[in-house]
């Protein structure tokens, strides 16, 4: 009995380790690559023993890419900044628009509410490129092409349905009686929304915000089509590492590491909202 449970414990640990290794290995390898030169990366057989160098990071931060063909200008740092601004801006706008909408869809039954909610979700059904081509023409006509405002607007196609549908579910899960109780106590519906519904849906809002941020951050096609060089995020900017004299693996790796960091930081920050089970003990189950 004891024997099997110990064996089981060991096997379970081994299995978990294997899974972690499987998923984390590429990240681990990329982190290693980011501290190597192209030569050490490409040697056969590959080895984890090398002399670490910060040259990749220096190149990215200073914006000077040294290649065999000469010095190339890259604006990775401004790409990173663009990614941050576009993603954060999109999520902010998405939350401002999406949370009240989610509350309305979740709480108030009005004519056509399901249809409207579904239509919003259907934005995600269409291939983005199909939407983008006509949109480019419109945007050029009304002067929104190649503006942060225009990009954030288009990013809502990704961000808004996600926030709307996730947060709506959380609002629906709040027992209506809790909100009724607050209103009967004499508070307006807005005050009820702000002090009761919003805090109770916070885990959902955090999850939706984080997911939306990741989706916005990883978006490639919108910015590729709609933005010029100075407004492009890292996803598009990374194309610059494919140079005439070959692919700069070291810089690509360093770029990946740098572009993971903001999302990682956000995920760690959002975690405490994600795990909080606030609805506990509200009503008798």
């Amino acid at each position: 009995m004891d024997q099997t449970s110990t064996l089981e414990k060991v096997l379970r640990r081994v299995a978990i380790s294997l899974v972690i290794l499987f998923f984390m290995f590429p990240i681990f390898w990329i982190v290693l690559m980011s501290f190597q030169t192209n030569e050490t990366i490409l040697r056969v057989p590959p080895s984890v023993i090398f002399e670490p160098t910060l040259s990749n990071y220096v190149a990215l931060v200073t914006g000077k890419l040294e290649t065999q063909a000469g010095t190339l200008e890259i604006n990775f740092m401004s790409n990173l900044w663009n990614s941050l601004f576009l993603s954060a801006g999109s999520v902010a706008v998405g939350l401002i628009l999406g949370i009240p909408a989610a509350y309305a869809f979740g709480r108030i039954k009005f004519r056509g509410s399901e249809d409207i909610a579904f239509t919003l979700l259907s934005f995600r059904f269409a291939p983005p490129l199909l939407v983008l081509l006509p949109l480019t023409i419109y945007f050029q006509k009304i002067g929104l092409a190649d503006t942060y405002f225009g990009l954030i607007w288009v990013y809502q196609l990704i961000v808004l349905p996600l926030i709307l549908w996730i947060v709506r579910g959380y609002f629906e899960d709040i027992p209506a009686d809790i909100e009724y109780a607050y209103r009967i106590a004499g508070h307006s519906w807005f005050s009820t929304f702000r002090t009761v519904a919003l805090p109770l849906a916070m885990p959902g809002i955090a999850a939706a915000g984080l997911l939306a941020f990741i989706f916005a951050w990883n978006n490639f096609i919108f910015a590729l089509v709609l933005a010029s060089a100075d407004k492009q995020p890292v996803t598009v900017g990374a194309l610059a590492f494919v140079t005439a004299s070959g692919i700069q693996y070291g810089q690509v790796a360093a770029g990946i590491v740098l572009s993971i960091l903001p999302t990682l930081a956000l995920a760690l920050y959002a975690q405490r909202y994600l795990v909080e089970g606030l609805s506990l003990g509200a009503v008798k189950g």
Binding site: Y180, A181, A185, G186, H187, G281, A282, K284
Partner: protein
Amino acid sequence: MSIQLSNIRKSFANDLVLDGVSLDIPTGETLVLFGPSGAGKTVLLRLIAGVVDPDEGRIIVNGVDMDGVVPEDRGIGMAFQNFALFPHMDAHANIASPLTARRETRSGIETRVREVAKLLKIDHVLGHTPAELSNGQKQRTALGRALAAEPSILLLDDPLRNVDAKLRFEMRLELPRLLKAQNATVIFVTQDYKEAMALGDRIAVMGDHGIVQIGTPEEIYLCPSSTRIARLFGDPTINLLDVVPEIGVQGPVVQLSATDVAISGSYAGAVGKACSLGIRPEAIRFVAPGAPGAFPVEIEAETPLNEKTVTLAATRNHREILVSRPAGTPGPDHGKAHVAIDMGNALLFDRATGARIIAADAPTDEMAT
């Protein structure tokens, strides 16, 4: 404040809950809504609170039509059956919520919350969140929240349902005093007939999409309008014996154990009709053979409860009767015995419809001998 409901109709997606409900509750009265689950008691409270709107009908509070008045402007205190506490606020903030809405001063709120908490004996757990409270404490927090702002209308939705027996008994004793002190008009929902009898100035029995009988606890207990209501009140439940009244020597009689037992002369109109004779267990006594109205029974079992002894007896053709007598009073516990019915408290119901047959005269304690 007085509450008037007239002709309220409410359905949820083709499911008719209330139809033609009218109710008049004078200021300061405690009205108990009593009935099985699904009878629409909670819906009625929600209609009055304004969180649900009626399909038809009017709700008038103190002469003002509540149509279009939002819940927060109705000045009502409500305790939900499921507590509906704010899980992210501690008990103190929960109780204080009606006071903060009225923008009272911080010290005023503090004083009032302490006062209410002390009254409900939860002043030691004010800093706890609902998750950290026991069911009884949650229930009292919810009650405290309803009482905090001293509303002139209190809607209490089965507030004692989820608490343990001891606390329920305590609260049943304390609540009337507490409610009277508030001088509020109270609507109290319950499924427990003892609670209804203990707390209500009047009881409205609900069923069939509306109110089937309304009256004082005594009226409901002694003169239920149908067998269904008669069964809901009383423990042990009322005896219902199928009888067909006949013309006896001195007036209408019913056959029990092949004995003619006289019933009130005012039931003469029911002769020949299929009826149910309703007798409360405490309206049956053991008597000596030959006593007026006595008929023989066979005792099957006896259950001594603490305050009363309940005997199960059978008539000659095996109809079972429950007889209840105060504990300690003498009575047979086995074999054959004779019982007599206190006919003043016996009720006659139409067997087909279950409706009570109203005696031609007001029921008197005339015992045909």
